[in-house]
Symmetry: C2
């Protein structure tokens, strides 16, 4: 069996952490006698510079021909003056999600044992640890709803966006949240604003229906404003958080920041055929790009998730994850995870990759 992976490294630290993910993948291929072919494509700012648009046709075609997309990160100050539609993030990520109908986005945020001090939370809260998974609907809601635009003149000119959800769309993402919760702590917290939004009222109705098929999973509903608050006080009481597109954008970033170590977090965006895009949770971090200090772990874990979910190589994925776990507990850490007085022990981007590849 031979696989094709489209590699979209992108901007900022994207290319340098991708090198490390490739090292680890190579070691994994050897150990498990997998045959994977990689093709690199431009995306984001790099694609704007080379081809005039953030998602060139060749990139899209390459992704279509692949079994999965390993994505780095896009964006940076160089392209911030562009119109919103032409910017790297919006111009690459949203069309990729739409084109491949990657409706299911999973963003795990777990406080790693030993790294509790990285969390911005008070120590008595962070010491309890937490392990939250945000399951976010990614191809509908206010991101893609029509009509969207402007109307009118002068001071009466109005802009408008439409939030829109069908029962079908809510049902398919809700099912995944419940199924996933069954393999975890069996609790789903559905985030909405049912006291204001018609979409949220329907969301709640459908989620209640889906819940009936999962009697072993506890369901609770929470308003988005209250969710943002409760995560600060008692993050350990959440397991799976089921969110619409916009609310998931907010919640997934909040829980990522609560870990204090975004360089360790990766995310999955999948469609119903198992095709997916795998990417680190952090951004392109242009401020530290090219210095060899970026943390490659999130990119390496993205590769592990790709192996598990799109290539169905559960064992290979687990071996990578264990190697990462061992590297971290061996004290192999990049600088941002160390106290200032410990920074002289920081490992470089490539030292991290080498060590994890060796462990695999």
């Amino acid at each position: 069996m031979s696989y094709q992976i489209a590699v979209l490294a992108g901007d900022g630290i994207g290319p340098e952490v991708m090198v490390e993910a490739r090292k680890v993948l190579k070691a994994t291929e050897e150990r498990f006698a997998l045959s994977i072919e990689y093709t690199e494509y431009d995306v984001g700012g790099a694609a704007i510079d080379n081809h005039g648009c953030p998602l060139p046709d060749a990139t899209l075609k390459g992704c279509e021909a692949a079994d999965a997309i390993l994505f780095g990160s896009v964006g940076g100050p160089k392209w911030e003056h562009l119109a919103p539609n032409d910017q790297p993030e919006r111009g690459a990520l949203l069309p990729l999600r739409g084109h491949f109908e990657l409706f299911c986005n999973m963003r795990p945020a777990k406080l790693h044992a030993g790294l509790e001090h990285m969390s911005p939370l008070r120590s008595d809260i962070s010491s309890r640890g937490f392990d939250v998974l945000c399951v976010r609907e990614l191809t509908s809601g206010i991101y893609f709803g029509k009509p969207k635009g402007r109307i009118g003149e002068g001071e009466n000119e109005e802009a408008f966006d439409t939030m829109r959800y069908s029962r079908k769309e809510i049902r398919r993402i809700a099912k995944i949240a419940f199924e996933t919760a069954q393999g975890r702590r069996k609790k789903v917290t559905s985030v909405d604003k049912a006291n204001v939004l018609a979409c949220s009222v329907l969301w709640r109705e459908v989620v209640e229906e889906v819940a009936k098929d999962f009697p072993d999973v506890e369901l609770e509903h929470i308003y988005i404003d209250n969710a943002t608050m409760q995560l600060l006080r008692r993050p350990d009481e959440f397991d799976v958080m089921l969110c619409s597109n916009l609310f998931g954008d907010i919640i997934s970033d909040e829980i990522a920041m609560l870990t204090g170590s975004m360089g360790l977090l990766s995310s999955i965006s999948m469609n119903s055929a198992g095709f997916g895009l795998y990417e680190p949770a952090g951004g392109s971090a242009p401020d530290i790009a090219g210095q060899g200090i970026a943390n490659p772990v999130a990119q390496i874990l993205s590769a592990a998730l790709l192996l598990r979910h799109s290539l169905k190589q559960e064992e290979a994925a687990t071996v990578i994850e264990n190697a990462v776990g061992k590297a971290l507990s061996d004290g192999y850490l990049t600088g941002e995870l160390l106290a200032i007085e410990e920074r002289h022990n920081a490992k470089s981007t490539s030292e991290m990759g080498d060590y994890i590849a060796k462990l695999v």
Copy 2:
């Protein structure tokens, strides 16, 4: 000069903290020889029980006849089974905001000196303190945008909401944010999602225009997802946060929770004529209602804000605020602000009110 205040105590702890606010107002009237008439009206769950709807006509008429509304809090488990439209929060607050066009909502969140340990943030972050004011647009956006509803059948049935903003609506709230920032630390952070929403693109355009008239105020733009994160890492770097209705709902709750002492926070909802509704930031807290342990400070500070903004009694407002400040620094605290081993020193709701009234 004689004033009329409509008192809408509502549910849960609303009535008991309102008693204390009235005590403090009475002391203030005496000291400043003000003549204020109070009329009490049912609202929220209490109004559902007594009149069958959360905002009876008599209440609305009473508010129309008044110079300002002193609001308690509404809602509780007793009314949670009702349809969203009929529930106390949505059925009372949204129509009041709409009817009086209370477009300007200000929610301050300040970490009180001496109460840093209440914040859920790590001590090195909370010890830097913070003082953030959320200026939220309150009568437009996705809360009130039309169309809103459902269409279609079976699994294709869809719900939809419309987010909508005009230049005019954005301009008037942005102006207030900049004016307010001039009296503070001269920084406005405008929160949007301009990489996805047409409304946010217009929002950014208009905010930039308004900023030109305030060259002494620094303006920065931040995406809502990033804002939620940065508040956890560096709350001290924010001054005024300018938000649309939905994003302000989220940000104002997040910053309130970051103080860890919601019982001290109050908020203003005002229209362009200076008419306003003044309310505590916390909810009706039905779990502690009737026990005499609720913190009345937020309600008392709401009364101070009412005096300042709707009755233009700046001096009277400041006297109340100073009295509250002194009570807190004298260690007059309700139980939720004390460590468990200190709770025997907790002051009751009425002890707090008595002491603050005496100081006035």
